[in-house]
């Protein structure tokens, strides 16, 4: 099926098998291998990308269903020469080890910060109250991204640092 998706600001028109997931479209068709396949079933978060600004699991998404959508993968966040503040903070705080979950963690962070700014609650948010930016909220909101190297404390530190840098 002919499908056009804007990926990292560039319109990409592809003839796709309807079975092709957004993740495999990025990785196998567009050679954008930053989004990772950790489980392929929405159980790890390594494939997290932003679709129309919202973080989702690209493994549980058919590419043909995203015709006309805007996708940002890690390759659209920053480059080695010009790291995004979240990327820089992950580097500075050693918020990864093997690095395989990292692109998903960073895309998830970007989505999470927007959700917080929009006042979306989490299960750590007091009933009826606006969410506050604290460690418990970060931990809960980043729990959809598994890091088996377990850089969890470093990830929390990086996110706090990045938010200040972005302010």
């Amino acid at each position: 099926m002919r499908t056009t998706i804007t990926v990292n600001g560039e319109a990409r028109s592809l003839d796709l098998d309807p079975r092709t997931t957004l993740l495999d479209t990025l990785r196998e068709h567009l050679k954008l291998t930053g989004a990772k396949k950790g489980c392929d079933h929405g159980q790890c978060g390594a494939c997290t990308v932003l679709v129309n600004g919202v973080r989702i699991n690209s493994c549980l998404s058919l590419a043909v269903a995203h015709d006309g959508d805007e996708v940002v993968s890690i390759e659209g966040v920053g480059t080695v020469e010009t790291l995004h503040p979240v990327q820089q903070a992950f580097l500075t705080h050693d918020a990864f080890q093997c690095g395989y979950c990292t692109p998903g963690q960073i895309c998830s962070t970007l989505g999470m910060l927007d959700e917080l700014a929009a006042g979306w609650p989490s299960q750590e948010t007091a009933p009826g109250a606006a969410p506050v930016f604290n460690d418990a909220e970060i931990r809960e909101r980043m729990s959809g991204n598994i890091c088996r190297c377990s850089a969890y404390p470093q990830i929390v530190a990086a996110i706090k640092d990045a938010r200040e840098a972005m302010a």
Binding site: D17, H41, S73, Q88, L91, Q97, C98, G99, C149
Partner: protein, 754 residues
Amino acid sequence: MSSVNDWAAPNPVTTNRSGIIGKPVDRYEGPLKVTGTAPYAYEVQPPSPPAYGVMVGASIAVGRIAAVDTAEAEAAPGVLTVWTHLNVPAQPARGTKAHPRSTQGSKPAFESDRVTYWGQPVALVVADTLENAVAASHLVRLTYEAETPDVDFRARLADAGQPLGEQDMEVGDFDGGFAASAVKLDETWVTPIQNHCQMEPCASVVWWEGDKCVAHTSIQMVKPAQHGLAETLGIDRDAVHLLTRYIGGGFGGKGQTYDDLTLAALAARALGRPVKVAFTRQQMMHGTIHRPATVMRVRLGAEKDGRLNAFSIMTWTHCHKEGSFTEHASNFARALYAAPNRLTGHRLIKLDLPHAGPMRAPGEASGTMSLECAMDELAEQLGLDPVELRIRNEPPVDPENGRPFSQRQLVRCLKEGAQLFGWDRRLPTPGLVRDGRWLVGMGMAAAIRGNFLLPAKCSFSVDADGVITVRQGMTDIGTGTYTVLAQIAAETLGVTLGEVRVEIGDSELPPAPGSGGQFGAASAGSAALAAGMNLRRAIAELATGDPNSPLYGDDPTLVTFQDGVVAIENKSETLATLIRRAAPAGLTIEGDSRPAADMREWSTQTYGSHYCEVGVDTVTGEVRVRRMLGVFAAGRILNYKTARSQLTGGMIWGVGSALTEGNVVDPRYGSLINQDLAQYLVPVQADIGELDAIMLDEVDDKANPMGVKGVGELGNSGAGAAVANAIYNACGVRVRDYPITPDKLLAGLIAKGL
């Protein structure tokens, strides 16, 4: 080489003139990882479009494949080939070593109709697209003659025997000593099968350049993978170029290759095009190795003052019917505490379960889950603080073999951890601290892990820009290898980190043992230091022998290397100037390192302590780790940032072992029931509260010329026991069957009337 064999003599790493050793610099390859541009195996772009291979796993645990019907799969859209044991290309018999010095023999895929574990790869479908390959893999029809699987570990304990070539270690008279002890403890702990769950499933992409096989795979050890693949393909070892530049986690599970590599290579050869094969997440659970379950009986006999008189830990464990792996969960205890009467050993039963193998801190991770809880229980019986009990049993020399400790700062780890954590606020009586619906408690445990040094080689080059390139067939599985090699190179040659390149993960580079057993940094780094020393000497001789150098005619042993300048007193020139003029093609030189002949005269270990505070929900039995601190002594630390990450990661593995992780076997089918990351629960971000690791100053000059030891396993050792002990202190319930899930804890809470 001679200069690094004299390990106590100063060398550039120990002198650390520029201060780069130990510095918490960012990861060398970090910018690539945070931008998603570090290509992991499956992401390497082959020279032409690849075909996609998908494996099919057996759906019986033991038996034979009675019939194969691949017609429908072969006729499916895009399918290029379908293989089973009936038509897979011929491979040398398992274990064949055409080259006698191969570090790994042939590992043929689909070697017969025999199935020996559930999920064993039994068929391969290769197609033009991933979607077509996956769909066709569901059309392979295999008919089995199943046999009754022999998988019930707990039911077969009585049949377990001494592992081949091993014997129990007894010192003194354990039975007599135990019987005569004033205070006794005799309890049994159970740990489940655990899975590595590396974020990157095993994967390979392979193509052929003429007779040469180029294989990118995800592997911790390069040489055995290269040799094993060459033996399996029946070709010269040099005809396999194996690369593994970025690895999405290993933890021991990628210490060996699997059929993804073999099949990708065979299919790429047969089809004349690149082939990619990856495990699915579900296939990883059975198809790669796991940490086997254990049953551990711990007996402690003590005097009333807490001194251990008799000490025993006996471990029962299992491995695959054709395997020999033993989870040595008793071994670590041999060097930990003093006691005149000691008995440790293992019993192994071979089952129709998938292959057991090493997983992070093999031995210690399981073993400390029993002994370090037993010590907690004994301390309570004695009315002693658990920290004090450990201090009272501190041995002056290795209690098993009498060797002196090269370094032992266990007591300092215990004491500093207690102070920093606020251990004095712990109430010894359980169940007294309440915070809303939570009961809060603290627990601690000791950590120990052995230290190893393996032979390694490395090459160093300098080019006309003064850039140093380190080349080594080493791996970085997230451990920080790239970074510490760069630091060693920068410090040794007196250049900045920006002037160092590191190339690893390639079978055509000087061999190194790879990542495992926390021997990586020490082994690879020692060879790097040796290569760096050799390059220093070559550069010094170049300068002092070059009439155009200001250093001409001087003693080459006096040359210093700092800030990109080679100098003798006030005579100097930049390294780049020298090389550009005197050796414009650059210089390359190798170095190697090996264990010292007298290494075995010392007991060399790494140590630590864990302190943990948990909350137990008295309504539901849910546990949350609130705070955790580890204090470790592991020789010189090459990079405090990456080492801390290794340690905190290991600690969090302990949290998983204590609370959530475990595969369960359905004996009717011989399979693990939880086969994905929704059912095998590793810790997530919300499981981890405030958690940190601290490293004590230490240099262990008996370990290697740099005085470093490893940290990758150490953080995991003892961590789970600290969590379990904190749970007891919180609510007074001991659960000795891990993981401590709400259902188990709830039973204990109810029994206590809570």
